[in-house]
């Protein structure tokens, strides 16, 4: 009992440190430098080597800015919204596995914070709660631009969640018919025995990818903030750390969804047996095997997640925004039928024994 508690907290702290504390400020820097690269200008390059200390300065700025609350705001909802943005963003990563089950002493510990049977569903369920923060921020601010942003967010997130969930279901069908369970650790184990899911589930992967952009409100789909139409959309009235909370939850959501995408379609922490091999070699030098296994698995997962994060940034500075009716048409008339077709196709292939 005590050992389990300890193991879970160690994994939790480890994941928090690697993924959230390190990746979010780093991503801010990457985003701005990448924008500079694409727009043929340097980007932030003054503070520290290559401007790497810029995020630290940004955080300091957020701490010392004045925190303004509109007099006409609905105070409770206005204050609640940033909290609701951060909570689901910080809790979903517990379902992402970052290594195989390892032996610590005489116990077997799976390298995932929560190996719940319905882990993927809980992931989607928790991330679907994020919509309330946008809607309440829009309503609580008592500002028409904020309200329009909030209303846009509610319809957009529901529309794309459906296609995304169906894409995930298609991944789980062959896994559960083989392993009898659809834990995310089983999804990774399945891909160790077969091709990476991205090949047999190419259609589902593209649906998931597009839905991923829409769910994180990133640019082709950033209509809830749409700075050229709505000032700053749902967070128009937020300043200082409350604004930073929205900012951070956007990056954390991007990170966890990228990690889920890597886990579902690109083998998760595994890289053709490389992590086991590297961990064994490193453990031969010094240190216990389970520690190296966790570190190497995490490094591979972070590398794969990083590829998707770069894609997020690249797309943001390359594509223009959708119009709202185009967004709805894409979600309901293209992605939803495609994902349904994909589920049918994968089910038939699983029954026929091809997958």
């Amino acid at each position: 009992m005590l050992f389990d508690l300890l193991a879970t907290s160690v994994k939790l702290v480890f994941f928090l440190a690697v993924f959230l504390a390190a990746i979010t400020p780093l991503m801010v820097w990457v985003e701005r430098r990448f924008a500079g690269l694409i727009q043929d200008r340097p980007g932030p390059n003054r503070l520290g080597p290559l401007g790497l200390f810029q995020p630290i300065a940004d955080v300091g700025k957020f701490f010392f800015k004045e925190d303004v609350m509109p007099a006409a705001a609905d105070k409770l909802l206005y204050l609640l919204a940033p909290v609701l943005a951060v909570l689901p963003a910080l809790s979903t990563f517990v379902f992402i596995p970052f290594g195989p089950a390892v032996e610590v002493g005489d116990r077997v510990v799976p390298l995932v914070v929560s190996n719940a049977n319905a882990g993927v569903l809980l992931f989607l369920a928790l991330s679907s709660l994020a919509v309330y923060s946008l809607v309440l921020a829009g309503y609580g601010s008592n500002n028409k631009y904020s309200l329009i942003g909030g209303i846009r967010a509610s319809a957009q997130l529901i529309s794309y969640e459906l296609a995304m969930t169906l894409a995930v279901v298609a991944v789980l069908i062959p896994v559960s018919s083989e392993a009898g369970s659809f834990r995310l650790t089983e999804v990774v184990a399945y891909q160790q025995g077969h091709l990476w899911n991205v090949i047999p589930q190419l259609l589902g992967f593209f649906v998931f990818l597009v839905a991923m952009f829409a769910e994180t409100n990133r640019l082709p789909f950033d209509l809830p903030e749409a700075e050229s139409e709505l000032v700053a959309g749902f967070h128009t009235e937020y300043s200082a750390m409350r604004f930073a909370a929205f900012f951070m939850s956007e990056y954390v959501n991007m990170t966890t969804l990228s990690a889920l995408c890597a886990t579902l379609y690109f083998g998760g922490w595994d890289l053709f047996g490389f992590p086991e091999w590297a961990a064994a070699a490193l453990a031969g030098l010094f240190g216990p095997l389970w520690l190296w296994m966790g570190l190497v698995g995490m490094a591979v997962l972070v590398a794969k997640t990083g590829v998707f994060l770069l894609l997020f940034v690249w797309v943001r500075w390359t594509f223009p925004r959708f119009r709202y009716d185009q967004l709805m048409r894409l979600g309901w008339k293209v992605l939803l039928p495609l994902s349904l077709l994909n589920v049918l196709f994968v089910s038939a292939m699983t029954l026929a024994g091809v997958y």
Partner: protein
């Protein structure tokens, strides 16, 4: 011990927030309380050993249906309910008596069914996904399909009601959007922008 504490906490939270849903005068607060109720129920499902149902509860009800409620409440700009808007003394008394009678009936019925019996923990098989699926597609197949048909009819009806008329008078945009995104809510922003500002009841 810990489980009992968690159960008590979330049971009270579920009942309390359900009361807020009914009693609060601002519909946005009522809707948000409904979210708290549903999440508390999901926690109770986990305590019963049915995490799958808990996940579905949050995914479908909290994550989608209540969001639509909120969407409609905000889009139609329903203000705070006025005090003393309806119902006289007689109505209040009758409502109270009716509630007591209902409570008594449900209470005595459930006491007759379960009174004194020690609750047996649900076994793994009963709540497992496999059992659920095979029951749904064998014993309850007809019901399952009929419910699916009913939902399909409802969707078609909503689409027909919301569809833009070919000629004649213009239907108000709000109706079209509220019926669901399937109807293609193009000009949402155009209509809501002006209708929103004179909102009473926020302060």
């Amino acid at each position: 011990m810990i489980e009992t504490a968690i159960f008590l906490l979330f049971a009270l939270l579920a009942v309390g927030s359900a009361l807020v849903v009914v009693l609060h005068r601002n519909p946005v607060y009522s809707t948000m309380s409904l979210v708290v109720t549903l999440v508390s129920l999901a926690v109770l499902f986990v305590l019963l050993g049915a995490p799958f149902i808990a996940a579905l509860q949050i995914l479908i009800y909290t994550g989608a249906i209540v969001v639509l409620f909120l969407f409609v409440v905000m889009l139609l700009n329903i203000g705070r309910e006025e005090i003393g808007q309806h119902g006289g003394m007689l109505q209040k008394v009758l409502a109270g008596v009716g509630a007591l009678v209902l409570l008594g009936m449900v209470g005595s019925a459930s006491w007759g069914l379960y009174g004194g019996a020690v609750a047996k923990p649900l076994d793994e098989d009963f709540v497992s996904l496999t059992t659920l699926a095979s029951e749904l597609f064998s014993s309850y197949l007809l019901t399952f399909e009929l419910v699916g048909l009913l939902l399909l009819v409802a969707v078609i009806a909503a689409t027909v009601l919301a569809a833009r008329p070919r000629s004649g008078e213009r239907v108000e945009q709000e109706v079209e959007v509220a019926a669901g995104p399937a109807a293609g809510p193009g000009p949402v922003t155009a209509t809501t922008g002006d209708a929103v500002l004179p909102r009473e009841g926020v302060r």
